[in-house]
Symmetry: C2
Subunit: 390 residues, 2 copies
């Protein structure tokens, strides 16, 4: 059932422990579902209750803990030995009396780690304020350190096997985007187009099926394209609609995000012009990318490429992505924006996504890419254009 060799998980663990030592952390409590998966293989929709993976410098294997009814899931999907899968009873679930972090503290005590320097993923969804306060309350002394993004940064460089899965996800993304472009038309219910998109995401290709994506298909129309993160509603497409498509493929939890834009009818000159500018900027920026340049230099290249046009883009133009769970396929490490001096290195995967949201409509055309030894390679083969259906 494992998607990777055990040796690959162990190598990830080795790198994680190295990073822990650099930050003075002896035990790391991993609660980010993507990080839990990355280190152990664990893959279940159980992150709506508290769970985690404990990594201790002095222990070879991590410990998975979660709800009892999910522990068989950990036995099935992880490489951990049975005694490192620890379920808590159901009275810990959404209780006002007992909290699962007390169970985690009991485990820390059992392995003699309750007085060691503990790192927690401080700003991760699923590590709530209550989790933090419960740990502070239950631990004998307050030794809690910020262990945010330790595993995320290890994740930022992809292995050959990970890149294979990203390529499979990209094949799905191409089918998904084609399905969307084909399905959207005047008189079609937006929900029927979205249904086709979902179907394409999961049915995948003739060779392999797909997995659920960490972000739903973002496919707003008309005025709803003036903002990020809205999607379909219960209406029919009309002539004059802009439709933004921020879609994806997913395989074994590895993603391929991809954005394009459709216009129904004869596009206004302003939209045509914006499309031209954005695609020009996108092409120029991709040409620039290679190992050794920084994230902010990539953004600067984009900004210079579109200078003098009417396009203004104030938010970041891309971010690291890969393995993930809802609500985000981004890795929360690299952002293409001023101030991010991360040096790009081979094996990094970034979604270049210069989304434009104006007062009345928007435009999106994006490319996910891999930093290679000499430059970058885009993952997806799909025309960079405004798709016009007249």
């Amino acid at each position: 059932m494992l998607y990777f060799e055990v040796s690959e998980y162990q190598e990830r663990l080795r790198k994680t422990k190295e990073a822990m030592q650099q930050r003075g952390i002896e035990v790391l409590l991993v609660t980010d579902p993507a990080n839990m998966n990355y280190l152990t293989g664990y893959d279940g929709w159980s992150f709506y209750v508290h769970q985690g993976v404990i990594v201790a410098l002095n222990r070879q294997e991590p410990i998975w803990f979660g709800r009892q009814q999910d522990s068989n899931g950990a036995r099935i999907t992880t490489w951990l030995q049975d005694h490192n899968v620890r379920g808590y009873t159901d009275d810990y679930v959404q209780s006002q009396v007992k909290h699962p972090m007390s169970f985690a503290v009991d485990l820390l005590k059992e392995i003699g780690c309750d007085r060691k320097d503990l790192g927690v993923e401080m700003d991760n969804y699923y590590f709530t304020g209550r989790c933090l306060d419960q740990l502070r309350h239950d631990l004998p002394n307050d030794t809690i350190k910020n262990g945010d993004l330790i595993v995320n940064w290890v994740r930022s460089i992809k292995s050959a096997q990970e890149i294979d899965y990203l390529r499979m996800a990209s094949r799905i993304a191409e089918k998904v985007m084609q399905t969307a472009v084909d399905s959207i038309d005047v008189g079609v219910r937006e929900g029927d187009a979205a249904a086709n998109v979902y179907h394409a995401q999961i049915s995948g290709t003739a060779e392999f099926t797909g997995d659920y994506s960490a972000i739903i298909p973002i496919m707003p129309s008309a005025l709803r394209t003036s903002t990020a993160h809205l999607s379909w509603v219960d209406r029919k497409y009309e002539t004059g609609d802009v439709v933004l498509l921020e879609l994806s493929g997913c395989k074994n939890r590895y993603h391929a995000p991809l954005s394009r834009t459709v216009y129904l009818g004869k596009p206004p000159a302003e939209l045509d012009e914006i499309a031209k500018v954005v695609i020009h900027g996108l092409n120029r920026t991709l040409d620039f990318i290679k190992p050794g340049v920084t994230a902010e230099q990539v953004e600067e290249t984009w900004r210079h490429a579109i200078a003098g046009s009417r396009v203004v883009k104030e938010s970041r133009v891309g971010y690291a992505y890969g393995l993930n769970y809802p609500p985000d396929w981004g890795e929360h490490t690299i952002s293409l924006r001023p101030g991010d001096r991360t040096v790009l290195r081979p094996g990094m995967t970034i979604h270049f996504m210069p989304g434009i949201w104006l007062d009345r409509f928007g435009f999106e055309c994006s490319e996910p890419f891999l930093v290679t030894e000499n430059g970058c390679e885009t993952f997806v083969d799909f025309p960079r254009q405004l798709f016009v259906k007249e």
Copy 2:
């Protein structure tokens, strides 16, 4: 664009303020996306960055805050006046330098609420440990109180309009379940069946389309049915597979969860027997439910109904549900289990879900229901049985 009359939102706000007063909270910082939606209408996939709604006793309208690029989304989907929609600049996003909770504190200062008793949703996903520490750091004195579940409890009683949406979601859930039962068969790829399920969820009915569900279709097979929360994998169904189906319909973010089980081939006697016991227990329990009984009495009725059988169920057998976003359609208020003395009242909606996960396989048959004036009414019309495909 609003799914409810403004007066209904205002009534929700009134009840929320009443509950705040009872808990000594003058300002409530709402970060649960379902609670944000419930009070303001806000509906976007933007909860992967920090955002919130501020409710102050001394202010008529809440304030929405979030990322700048999402603020047009708030203008489109909420009933709030423009000056109560406040976007933060992109340098707050996933930054190691600035945190969006500092922006929230600036807003609290602006409205003269930074020294008032502040409630936060302490154990809600999306309110991270870092959020809590940032508020403690930025506020002039530590006045933070636990405001967990204040809005969730207001949500527990549904209005007529909410019940209408729950009924629409239920029509979708029936189609979704039928699609699953029809699609699953020996030799079919699990991903193709899952694709059909997604398609049915979103295409909905001839009258209305559906929305994305807060939980993916949970549809594991074979050994993977021995645990909760796994789903399809890239394999074909085989003779002898048990397939669990924990599916749903969703309309305007209101859900209809529904579980059934399929067996491919001639079911083993043990599975047949478990199905019989569970369905008997389910029927008995539904007969018992009426206003005035407690959540734990419902569980007790179930436990007595299955006593003496080989079915043992150690986890809760149901929970409140309704409006929600990933990762959960549950409301985190009522749990059908020992110790929960919540008195059932008309308008409450609960998913009775006695999932059974044994060492080698599982069985699920559930019913979402509405507590009525005299008893309860199930939302979904779908046969309660083990679906056998020979």
